[in-house]
């Protein structure tokens, strides 16, 4: 069955609903109840209702079709539930519990039985041993974490796939805290059916997903995965954080090539070949994904730096040059046009320093001048709210420029709580914003990599 159905689930059945606070069957139910726009059915033979929702004794007795079934039962009872759901025409099953292939032969047998049900019925299985699925656009949320401990993503443009449940949830919390919305959160668990390649295909087809973020520990079928990524990356960015050493099968090290493979292998080159931007840690995963989702690809090395603090501009220049970017001087003509827009004590060359006299309007005018000059491949604007004349109102301009301007823009917002709150709003308006010089520059690096890759599709 088609995994695209995950985005249009209109009825969910939770098997193993629990009224006991903190139990998996209760945590999931509370998350599900909160925003889900479709119908919810519960199965629990020992209760008549949980959380105000009627409980059915069996899956068979539910008088309605079920699109998606969440199974919160111990592993030994899961196969039967999957079979019953499949019989009911359920499109997707999510067995949450562990105790399967990861725990040995017995568990592997159970997995085999589920795979059989899936392949004969067409029911797709996500998991087992996973922490759930979140699709903000429909309010579907089967996550194994509570609102008191984690932020949940709003509706947005990043499709996040994770092989690790825990790392997936904590990255989700971080993404959401920064104000970055998701088109989907998918915890893959043991991947007995649905794997990373299936999800890349599915998210590749989803119009709402603008960038796919993936945390991987193992790649089931390398060639398929890479091929699918290459195909998908023509349309949207893909960022992968690959955890764990990549094992190589080669033991022979008689030649230099073999010994270098052993000591110095990196996936970066192979990822780049297939349109995947590699993240080296969870922060890069978040930053690169939001950059690729929000900003335009960068097609060159020349960056204009705009700020109201000379020091920030100088540091940014150093970091940019270390990343292989050029902070080239503005042409005389452009410098004189910029000079007319900013304070006389400022600097119209690059980095452009508008000084503490900067205002929203100056930012706007300078950025427009830079854009129309065509002298730069990207604009890095440090919008510093410690400056008196710079206010939240600047977001409207940033957002419209990000959409309509020719030059890609990345924003840096440095500062404490006050700045963070505004930065979230900038992000919520679909503009790539980062809380430090180095993170903003690294994100530009990811955009440049994407720009370089896209050359392949230009005629």
């Amino acid at each position: 069955m088609n995994l695209d159905d995950i985005f249009s689930v209109s009825s969910v059945c939770l098997i193993g609903a629990s009224r006991e606070e903190g139990k998996v069957g209760n945590v999931i139910l509370k998350n599900l109840k909160k925003n889900f726009k479709g119908e919810i059915f519960l199965v629990n033979p020992a209760a008549t209702e949980v959380e105000g929702i009627k409980c059915y004794r069996t899956i068979e007795s539910i008088p309605h079709s079920v699109d998606l079934g969440v199974i919160s039962l111990p592993s030994t009872k899961v196969v039967e539930a999957v079979a019953s759901l499949a019989k009911k025409g359920c499109k997707i099953c999510i067995p949450v519990a562990g105790g399967f292939g990861e725990q040995g032969e017995e568990g592997k047998k159970l997995e085999q039985e589920m795979i059989k049900v899936s392949s004969t019925s067409g029911t797709r299985i996500i998991g087992p041993n996973c922490v759930g699925v979140i699709i903000p656009r429909t309010g579907l949320n089967t996550a194994l974490t509570t609102e008191s401990k984690s932020k949940f993503p709003s509706d947005g443009s990043i499709g996040f796939i994770s092989q690790s449940g825990a790392l997936g949830l904590l990255a989700m919390d971080e993404f959401s805290d920064a104000g970055i919305g998701f088109s989907s959160f998918i915890s893959l668990g043991n991947e007995i059916d649905v794997d990373e390649t299936d999800m890349v295909t599915t998210l590749g087809r989803d119009e709402k997903t603008k960038c796919i973020a993936v945390y991987l520990e193992k790649i089931a079928e390398v060639d398929n995965f890479l091929k699918e990524c290459k195909k998908t990356s023509e349309k949207k960015g893909i960022v992968v954080l690959k955890g764990g050493q990549t094992e190589s099968g080669n033991r022979a090290t008689s030649l230099h090539t073999g010994s270098l493979l052993k000591t110095s292998f990196s996936l970066k080159g192979i990822f780049r070949q297939n349109g995947i931007v590699q993240a080296n840690n969870e922060i890069e995963l978040i930053d690169f994904s939001s950059a690729l989702a929000f900003a335009k690809p960068v097609k060159g090395n020349k960056v204009a730096v705009v700020s109201s603090a000379g020091g920030v501009g100088v540091v940014a220049t150093d970091v940019l040059e270390n990343h292989g970017f050029k902070v080239n001087k503005t042409s005389d003509a452009l410098a004189s046009r910029v000079g007319e827009r900013i304070s006389r004590i400022g600097s119209p060359f690059n980095p452009i320093d508008m000084t503490a006299e900067a205002t929203n309007l100056q930012y706007e005018n300078v950025i427009k001048e830079l854009d129309s000059s065509g002298e730069f491949d990207a604009i890095l604007a440090f919008v510093l709210f410690q400056t008196f004349g710079v206010t939240e109102d600047i977001i409207d301009f940033l957002s419209s420029f990000n959409r309509a301007g020719k030059t890609p823009i990345v924003v840096g917002v440095i500062g404490g709580e006050y700045s963070r709150v505004i930065s979230r709003k900038i992000i919520a308006n679909g503009v790539a914003s980062f809380p430090s010089v180095s993170r903003a520059v690294a994100a530009l690096g990811a955009l440049r990599e994407r720009g370089e890759f896209l050359r392949r599709f230009e005629k």
């Binding site: 390398v222 080669n250 022979a252 030649l255 080159g269 070949q273």
Partner: protein, 201 residues
């Protein structure tokens, strides 16, 4: 794991049009018809690290020294084939390798070559076949990639290098192997030379 004798592998490379120094099979000193200085090498199916075992002697300046070195080498390796090459002028040194990896399949390695290559370990890998973009990317991915732009009077021609990498990629598709080293490859302003080539199947 079988080591292909070097002479044999190098002949295959000749046939495919890869550029290498002029090579002569040496039974007597007069078999050498190239320019000096020359290099004498043992073409063995077993010895793979020749510098350490005395199976290669470089910078041979004239026919008399050549005769003397050849004699010594024949005594030390009585059962092996010995050959001579013209000693190439120095270029920018890179390593290009191929390996058939169990997980990823055939990979091409590109890196900073020469004496320090295993110390610096500045290398990158791509799946073959490569297209032109992949080959260009290889050059971008090295930390010391700037040596290709010129260093201490040595300069590489990127266009020539990219064509060479694509040729190695073609080779990797047409042949079966476990590992192949082209190390070092000398890059010049207008050309390249494979100085040493080894193949294990």
């Amino acid at each position: 794991m079988t080591v292909i004798p070097e002479m044999e592998f190098k002949s295959i490379l000749d046939e495919m049009g890869f550029k290498q120094p002029k090579r002569f099979l040496m039974n007597s000193p007069y078999d050498y018809r190239g320019n000096f200085p020359a290099v004498l090498k043992v073409s063995s199916g077993t010895i793979t690290h020749k510098t350490e075992s005395g199976a290669v002697v470089t910078d041979i300046k004239n026919i008399d020294i050549l005769a003397e070195v050849l004699k010594g080498m024949k005594n030390k390796f009585p059962d092996e084939t010995i050959y001579a090459e013209e000693m190439a002028k120095r270029g920018v040194e890179v390593i290009v390798g191929l390996i058939n990896d169990q997980q990823f399949g055939k990979l091409l390695l590109f890196g900073v070559g020469g004496f320090y290559s295993e110390l610096i370990r500045d290398v990158t890998f791509k799946k073959v076949p490569l297209d032109r973009y992949d080959a260009e990317d290889l050059l971008e991915e090295l930390k010391f990639g700037s040596i290709l732009n010129g260093y201490r009077g040595l300069k590489a021609n990127k266009g020539v290098l990219i064509d060479f990498l694509l040729k190695v990629s073609d080779f990797s598709i047409q042949h079966q192997f476990s590992q192949i080293d082209f190390n070092p490859v000398f890059l010049y302003e207008d050309d390249y030379l494979i100085i040493d080539a080894k193949m294990v199947i």
